[in-house]
Every structure is written in C-alpha cells, then in structure tokens.
Amino acid sequence: MSSNDEKEKLRISRRAFLRTMGIGAAASTAVATGVLQAPLAESAVPPKVEGLDYVPVELKVNGRRYALTIETRRSLADVLRTELELTGTKIGCNQGECGACTVIIDGRAMYSCLLLAVNVQGKNIETIEGLSRGGRLHPLQSAFIEKDAYQCGWCTPGQIMASKALLDKNKNPTLAEVKTAVSGNICRCAAYNHIFEAVLAAAKKL
C-alpha cells in the first residue's frame, strides 16, 4: 500500500469515527440531520421516542417525600430542578463531567445528572437546600462564606455537597483527602485554594 493510500484510509476511518460520534462529516453532497445527535430514520409519522412513558415515582429529598408523575427518561437533576424547583442543584454539563449537580444519595456524593429519577426511589437524597434550616447555616456553608470559597457560585452547591459527603464519614480529613473529595467538581473560577481552606475549617467546627 502506498503511503497515499494509507493516508486516504486513515482519512476515511476518521470520518467514519466522527460520524459514529453523531457529528456529520463533510462529503461532496450529503443529506444530514442535526449536528450533535444521531440521525433518525426518515418517517412521515413521528417515531415513538424512548422514555416518553409517564410513570409515578416517589422521591425522598431532604427528608420529605414527593409523589410525581414523570417521563422515565428524566434525570434526577432535571426533576429536582424543574419539578421540585430545587434549583440549588446546578447543571454545568448534563453529562457527568463537572460535578455541579452533586447530591448525596444514601451517604455517597453522586452526579444527579447521570441518574434517572425513577432509579433512585426509596433512597435518601440530600441536596444543598437540606443543609440550612430556619436561617441556620451548616458549618460548611459558614466556612465557605468566611473563606470566600466561591466566585461566580455556580459550582458551589456541588462543592459543598461533595465536601459534606466527605465530612459525614471523615471528621478530620487531610488536605489530600479534601482535594480528592472535590476532584470531581470543576471550579472554572478556580476558587480551589479557598475551598480547601473552608472544608478544613468546617471540619474543625464539626
């Protein structure tokens, strides 16, 4: 095989790769549907969309029970935010990369955008809104204020929930343990140093 052939082969496989990613590749003439999603078969009748079945679910959030009827395909983050109007749980990517949607489920910090609401029934779900009551802040919350552990504040609820999951288990964490606990929570403002300080300070008060 000449090196040109090889180049051509590489080129083709790369196109094929991009296509399987659901991103249309350029060809001389092409019929393509939207970028960033896989094309569906042509059809005059709208196809049945997966996850469109409505089901009753019962969620236990911050110690309260909520009975809802929702589409099976909806994520926990989405249901918390739009059905329960608990918008303290943020969404930064909606695909399990940034940690803005971190909540605590049965004691573990988890990305709520990656969980289907129907799958977390019967579990104990804690969100940022459950931390303070009647104007009394959780020590983590006061420490975040005291240390200026945020800038824009978008990642903050996720950082606090990830830290709370750590402190619930480990009352006296090292700096390295704090770093690891929030390593799945991107802070684009990079308030990290102050976040570490806040978590360590809160640990002392618990």
Binding site: K90, G92, E97, Q141, C155, T156, N185, R188
Partner: protein, 722 residues
C-alpha cells in the same frame, strides 16, 4: 449575596422558570461550509408538544448583523444555526430536532491556520483569507536603524492554543416578548450592553427592553453583549406569545457559543535586536491569529496580540504586524486578558531565552529594559509597581536559579521560572451610580453591574461604607436589572468593574455625605463648613465636643428620600506584576506539576483582601490550564471540535492546584481614580504561561515554544534533545 450562593438560593438565568415558559433548541450545521438545498420540517411539526419551528424559509428577514440574517440558506461553520424548535419541554424540542430533514450541498472549507494562508486555499471571504485583506500595523522609530545598531539579534516563533472560557453556567437566556415589551433573563456580564444591543438588533426602543440578571455563572469575556441565541429566543417568544427558554448544551458552548467563542490560536514571531549588555534596540513582531468565517468585528480578537510588545519594555524602534486569518470556524472572542495573554506567553519566554543568551538573570534583563515612562504616550505612569513586584515577589519566592536540568530526583526534574504581568484597565468612559441614605441610617447603592464572580457588589458596598463611614452591613447594593439601575458600566470586561464603578459610587456617596453634613449643621446649629464626618459621627471642628451621631442626622430626614445621580470618570491605568513558579517535570511521563507559585500584583489598592486573593489565584490557575493542557482540538477534515466536553477539554481541577500559592499585593498609589484600585480580573491569567514555560526549561534544559505544554510535547522535546 454570599448567603445565596452557599444555600442554593442564588437564582441564575439558567434557574429561571416563568409561568407558561416554553423550551427551545437549535439545529446546527454539521458542515463547515455548505449550501442548504432544502429543509423539511413536516415530521417535526407533527410531534406533540412542538409549538413553532423557525428556518430560513419562514423566519422572515430578521438580521443578525449587516452581513447576514439569523436564518439563511447557507452555513459557514460547523454549528451555524439552521433551525430552531420551541416545544413544551427541552426534551421534546430535542426530539423534534432529530425529525428535521436538511439537504446540504457541501462546499470546500479550510480549518487549519497555516492551510488558510496558502495561495490555493479555499477563500472563506470574497477578498481572501486575511481579514479585510490587510494586516494591522503599528510602527514607532526606525526598525531598520534599530537592527543596524544591534549587536545581537534573537528570533523565535511561539504558538498558543485556543483556550475556551468554559464557564460552568452554560450560555442562554429566557426571553418574554409580551405587550410590546421584551424582558430577558440573561446569563450576562452586563445588563446594559445586552439591553442596548437587543434593542438595536430587534429594532426596538431601548425603553422597551429590559435585561435582568442577578448572578452569572462565569463569563471570562464570553458573556458580553448578545449572541444569536438571544435573538432566536426573542423571535420564538414573539412567534408563540410565550416566554421562551433557550440554553445551549455543553458541546454547543464549546463549539460555537453562538459565535465569538474562544481565545484565538496564534503564531507569533518575535525578532529583537539588543546591545551586548542586553539593551533593546529593536523589536519586530509578527502575529497570525486564527479567526472565523464571518467578516465581523469579532475578527479583531484574532489580531489583538502585541500590546505588551509595544508597551511593556523600553524600546525606541518597534514594529508589530498582525494578521487575522479567516477559517471556517466561529470567531474568537475576548477571553480573560485577551491579546496580552497570548503575547506574554511568547514575550516572557523570549526574554528568558535572551537572558540565557546574555548569561544574565532574567529579572536583571527586564530591569535593564524597564520603561520609566509610558512607551506609547511618553507620559509618566499614573502608577507603576513593576519594580516592586519583581523585588517583593522574588524575595518571597527565594529566587535563585540552578543550572537547567541540574535539580534531579530519579526521573523527576525541578526548575523555577518567572514572568512579567502586564495589562491595562479602565477605559475612560462615564459611569453612574446612585446612593440613597435612609432615615434608619442604612445605605442603598444602585449600580448597573452584574455579579460575575469578582465580588463587585461587596466591593461597591465597601466603598460606600468607607466614604459614609457606616458599618459595611448597613449597606445594600441593588444591581443586575437594566430597568432598576443607572448606566454604571455597559458590561464587565477589561478588569474594570471596580475601577470604573468604584469611583462613581464613591462620588455618589460623597455627594450624599455633603447633604448629610448640611443636615448635621442644622442639628448642631453651626455652619456646614464647620462640620466633618469622622468614625460615623458628625463633629463640629471648632468645638469637637459638639457632636451628632449618624442616626441622629439621618433620622432628621423624615421620609424625604435623598437620591443623587453622580457621574464619575475613570482613566486608563497600567497594571503590572510578576509571577514566580516552581515546577516538577517527570521525564518518564512528560507530565508537569506546578509545585508552588508566588504572584505579586500591582493593582493599586486591594479593596477587599479576600476577593482580591481569590481573583489572583483563580486567574493564575486559568493561565496554568492554558499553559499546560487547555486547547480546543478541531478536526481539520470536518471542522468538528473533537473535545467539546469537559473530559476532552481539560480545565484545572482540585488536583492541579499547586500546594502553595502566595499572593502579594503591591500597593501603588494610582492617581487616576478616587478609590486607588486598578483592577485584577485578567492580569493573573496573562502572567502565568511565560513563568511556567521558563520553569519547565529550567527543569529539563529544553525549550518548548508551543502551548499547551502537554506531556507528549515534553517527551518529544526531550527525545529531540537526546
């Protein structure tokens, strides 16, 4: 404010739910250049829950700019808008997108910067691929004479990558066009600029547009003004008579952000002449920046680099030639420290290389070329803390370099490096603020600013508290709504929120104070000239025992509100600093860790020490990301960004933070404003790359001039060096 953010009560535009709200999604082009032969929306329209679909066929003539309509029968980049669907839920709108059938005829395109410069490259604009068909050129002195006088000439070329703002709150808005009035809840850096541009684009009177935004989840330059999605959301709201929410998803944010989106990729050549002792005689600088497909103002961001070449060091003969190059991509935009960041990544490595050539300490070489007066205006600086930054920073750091490659431990090498920070703040535009003092002794500041994370509301409250000598917690700041605030700043860019809004607040507070003194004089039965405010008490100068408390005086106001409109003016200020870092390079894996950093910043007076430190640390880490791993990777074959997510595009995480980051404020006295603060949002990003690259050189003894300095580049460089 702080309370909101830690309890989850803070409402951002992304969180807004208005009754009756519909949800929109945009269908985007999969082609980097194509004609649209046909669009069939019949299947999508039949999907239950779909309320309206806009395409070039039915959207009318609504323009985006002079060049193009919002929806057209052609696309120029992957991600260009093709259609928009509005439906009962976001998921249904997404389902509908998949049912739209589009027939494209793909046309030739060009993505790569170097390829776009070839004579046979596809022409992105009719005039060719150099924006406006010519470079922008700056010249002073006589460049040829400068090189004739030189005893040493050094030349190197550096490339920088496309850094993305990657703010955590995605871009978008909720638009409600009802009863002739357009209200937009927008994730923006400035409600007033967004309002003005919406009115202009939609041909509405400014009084009919209101933009609201309490908090913004990061901007870094990407949320100034308006983007196509604002206009589309407004069009869909008018079409349906309902509020419409349109937010981009994460990959749309990375790929288009509709459309100015990222820091441009640049290739920069620096050629400089020196005397044997290291004194500059000439700098010839040439920059090519990768731009986008449209002939639009944002192309300027591709040729913005070079200010620090002209202004940072003393040099009589300078030429800067900048080319913005069209490609079939979205335009670059302002990204934290635009221009200077790209330039300093190159220039500060170049100076390090020159210092090696002259066998000089890099700080010494910089001091040798220190500009005593401003090189552009030949006027004295309002303030210049650069020398002090070098001195205090290097002392705190313990600046002492070992021979490159000599500090070893197994496969690990350690090195230190430094780089200069340079930025200019405030543009001299008028700024307005209102200060109201209430009878109970509390104070309200009204300012048209956004909370983008720099702590501006807190800082403005501090300034008012300081001027009126009331406790900080007695001051409330109203902001984030174009309808309820004066024109304080059009948008928060250029590190100027504090330095522009601060003086206006101070003047408004001073005006209020004068009026309080009038009242105090009545209370004390003396002349106003005889009264002064000290520690919250009105004191008679001639008889200090005669006093009135703040509350006593404000209580005299009854319900007469005293509002004051004051106009304060800012001037351009020059901001300096120096970064010192230590890195560890693993020669087995090529990975680089920044171990510690000392960041000395001359930003005038840090009004709030805590938020100041946050800004410097955060800005430095964004620069660290750009130096070591951040880069939009675009497939040249298709024009698709292959890492349009946080897994592929790596932002610094908690594990990348140096163990020690020390911030040293250098407090210069800047005469240009009445608050003596110069701004600090952007400079720390600009100063990071050079220092880190120089430390890597000091660790391994090999230069890497292509940012980001990834493990594979380190390994390649080590291999090439043997």
């Amino acid at each position: 404010m702080a309370w909101d953010k830690v309890t989850g009560q803070a409402k951002f535009a992304y969180d807004i739910q208005v009754s009756g709200m519909l949800h929109a999604r945009v269908l985007r082009s999969p082609h980097a250049n194509a004609k649209i032969l046909d669009i069939d929306i019949s299947a999508a329209e039949r999907l239950p829950g779909v309320r309206a679909i806009l395409t070039y066929k039915n959207a009318g003539k609504q323009r985006w700019d002079r060049q193009r309509a919002v929806f057209r029968d052609y696309v120029r980049l992957v991600g260009d808008e093709v259609a928009a669907v509005v439906a009962d839920t976001e998921l249904i709108a997404g389902d509908a997108l998949q049912l739209i059938k589009v027939k494209y005829e793909a046309l030739p395109h060009v993505i790569d910067l170097e390829e776009a410069l070839r004579p046979d490259a596809p022409k992105v604009q009719p005039y060719g691929n150099i924006w406006q068909d010519k470079p922008s050129i700056y010249e002073r002195g006589d460049i040829q004479k400068g090189f004739n006088e030189a005893e040493v000439v050094i030349e190197h070329t550096y490339t920088t990558s496309e850094q993305h703002h990657a703010c955590l709150e995605m871009h978008g808005c909720v638009a409600n066009w009802a009863n002739d009035q357009l209200t937009v809840w927008d994730s923006t850096q400035g409600v007033h600029l967004a309002r003005d541009l919406l009115a202009l684009t939609l041909n509405l009177p400014i009084s009919k547009v209101r933009v609201i935004n309490r908090h913004t989840g990061g901007g870094f330059g990407s949320k100034n003004g308006i983007k196509q999605y604002h206009v589309i959301a407004a069009m869909l709201s008018r079409e349906t008579g309902r509020p419409v929410r349109l937010f981009l998803n994460r990959s749309e944010v990375f790929m288009v952000t509709s459309h100015p989106t990222h820091r441009p990729r640049t290739r920069q050549k620096i050629k400089a002449g020196f005397k044997n002792g290291g004194t500059l005689t000439a700098i010839d600088y040439e920059e090519y920046g990768r731009g986008g497909a449209w002939n639009e103002g944002n192309m300027r961001w591709a040729s913005r680099a070079g200010d620090s070449i002209k202004e940072l060091y003393k040099c009589p003969n300078v030429r800067s030639t900048n080319y913005a190059v069209h490609t079939n991509l979205s335009s670059p935009g302002a990204c934290r420290g635009p221009g200077n960041t790209e330039t300093l990544f190159a220039l500060e490595q170049f100076f390090d290389e020159a210092a090696v050539r002259f066998n000089m300490d890099p700080i010494e070489l910089r001091l040798k070329n220190f500009a005593e007066i401003h090189p552009l205006t030949s006027q004295p600086y309002f303030s210049n803390g650069l020398k002090e930054s070098y001195e205090k920073g290097s002392n705190a750091f313990g600046w002492k370099r070992q021979k490159p490659g000599s500090v070893k431990d197994g496969t690990k090498r350690r090195g230190i490096g430094m780089g200069t920070v340079h930025w200019h703040g405030t543009s001299g535009e008028p700024s307005q603020a209102l200060v109201t003092v209430y009878p109970e002794g509390t104070v309200e500041v009204n300012a048209g600013i956004a909370d983008i994370g720099v702590g501006a509301p807190v800082i403005l409250a501090q300034i008012a508290a300081e001027e009126l000598q009331v406790p900080f917690d007695k001051v409330r700041v109203a902001y984030g709504d174009s309808a309820g605030t004066p024109y304080t700043i059009n948008s928060s860019y250029g590190s100027r929120t504090t330095s522009l809004a601060g003086p206006a607040v101070r003047m408004a507070a001073a005006d209020a104070k004068q009026q309080l003194i009038q009242i105090a004089a009545e209370v004390l039965k003396v002349s106003p000239a005889d009264v002064r405010l000290k520690d919250g008490v009105f004191i008679t100068k001639s008889d200090p025992a005669k006093q009135a408390s703040f509350k006593e005086v404000t209580g005299r106001m009854g319900w007469r509100k005293r509002r004051h409109l004051v106009i304060g003016k800012g001037k351009q200020v020059d901001i300096f600093g120096a970064h010192f870092v230590e890195v560890e390079v693993d020669t087995a894996t090529g990975s680089v860790r920044v171990l510690r950093a000392v960041l000395a910043h001359d930003s005038g007076r840090p009004i709030n020490a805590l938020t100041y430190e946050s800004q410097v640390q955060g800005g430095f880490l964004m620069g660290l990301g750009m130096a070591l791993f951040e880069e939009r990777i675009i497939d040249a074959e298709t024009g698709v960004q292959v890492n349009a997510d946080y897994h592929g595009y790596c932002c610094p995480t908690a594990l990348d933070v140096p163990d020690q980051v020390t911030v040293i404020p250098i407090e210069t006295h800047d005469l240009s404003t009445n608050i003596n603060a110069k701004g600090v949002g952007e400079p720390p990003t600009a100063g990071a790359g050079g220092a880190i690259a120089n430390a890597i050189y000091n660790a391994i003894g090999v230069r890497i001039r292509d940012y980001p300095i990834t493990p594979s580049k380190v390994l390649q460089a080590l291999k090439a060096a043997g």
